[in-house]
Symmetry: C2
Subunit: 193 residues, 2 copies
């Protein structure tokens, strides 16, 4: 289940902070390792091999790197949902998302031009925590009449139960490259296969 | 000078809006074409072939895709400057940037862990307009003691004179893949070689 190269990297370069926070800004969400992104992308291709996907969707900003690498390898366009409405965007779908991690709300916006009822979408993001970003994407896809085929995450924080929440929202395929069982006592415990 | 495949795409899929705005959200800054990003990255490698670069820097969100593709092909780490301070970031460099396009100010933040005096940096971004994002990067590199080797942009709006402004700030190497001479009367005029 787990992508070893990512798990090793989390154990070596990840930092556990108070409050269930896993800091991976050395290789994922501030400094990025493009080669690791490619390895992750290949594993996503394997795991979603049976799905007929025509578009990758992600959210700015940390989802963009793995999503673009996956889009490149699969030959598919990538759309990133914006958190602020651009002044030049006229017709759009909007969803309001609550971030438990940041204790705040943000909007997720996709232009009507780039999400339609013809789309069979794979959503890619860096973290699966409580599943709220995923819920926003479900909402946007429903508004557009697009088919959400599955969701792929680099790191799942299992103890925040986002997977269960997204299953309950009707998502049938969720794949995570590394599943964190616990960050108790600031120790990173990764789920073994 | 110009990357033909990008110029053609701008002419075909770009939209010119009132106020000197060029909308490229079909292939660069909302929906992204990963294969185009790779072609752009290869051209950046050619143009900066003589420079000894060890790190790519960009700004969230639209710079990430070309920067990651370039980092991947060059085997280099990519750091994206954040516009909001993450709660988990302690030691950082901060610069305040004025956006003429959006008529607002924003901050640009890079952790001290990922920009140091050992770094020889190439800055990559989607647009060169007035050069203010570039000025922010110059400021951050100066704070860190890093060497800013050059700047590469997908699209330069020549009539907003950012290149001249950045030359005056001491930047010696600026490369743009497509240079827009004018957007007058909502007509896209690309500079011929």
């Amino acid at each position: 289940m787990a992508l070893k190269v990512l798990c090793d990297r989390i154990l070596n370069d990840g930092k556990c902070l108070e409050g269930g926070i896993l800091k991976v800004d050395r290789f994922i969400n501030h400094q990025m390792d493009p080669y690791l992104m490619k390895q992750v992308a290949i594993e996503f291709i394997r795991r979603f091999a049976d799905l007929d996907i025509n578009k990758i969707i992600t959210v700015e900003a940390s989802g963009i790197a793995p999503a673009v690498m996956l889009g490149y390898l699969m030959g598919l366009p990538v759309v990133f949902a914006k958190k602020k409405r651009p002044s030049t965007m006229a017709d759009m779908y909007v969803s309001t998302v609550h971030s438990f991690t940041k204790q705040s709300e943000y909007t997720m916006i996709i232009s009507r031009d780039y999400l339609t009822s013809d789309d069979r979408v794979l959503f890619i993001d860096d973290f699966l925590a409580y599943g709220n970003a995923g819920k926003g994407i479900i909402d946007l896809c429903q508004q557009a009449g697009a088919t959400l085929m599955g969701m792929g995450f680099l790191i799942e924080k299992e103890f925040q139960h986002g997977r269960q929440y997204l299953y309950e929202q009707g998502i049938q395929r969720i794949e995570s490259m590394a599943i964190i069982e616990s960050l108790d006592n600031c120790e990173i415990k990764i789920k073994d296969d």
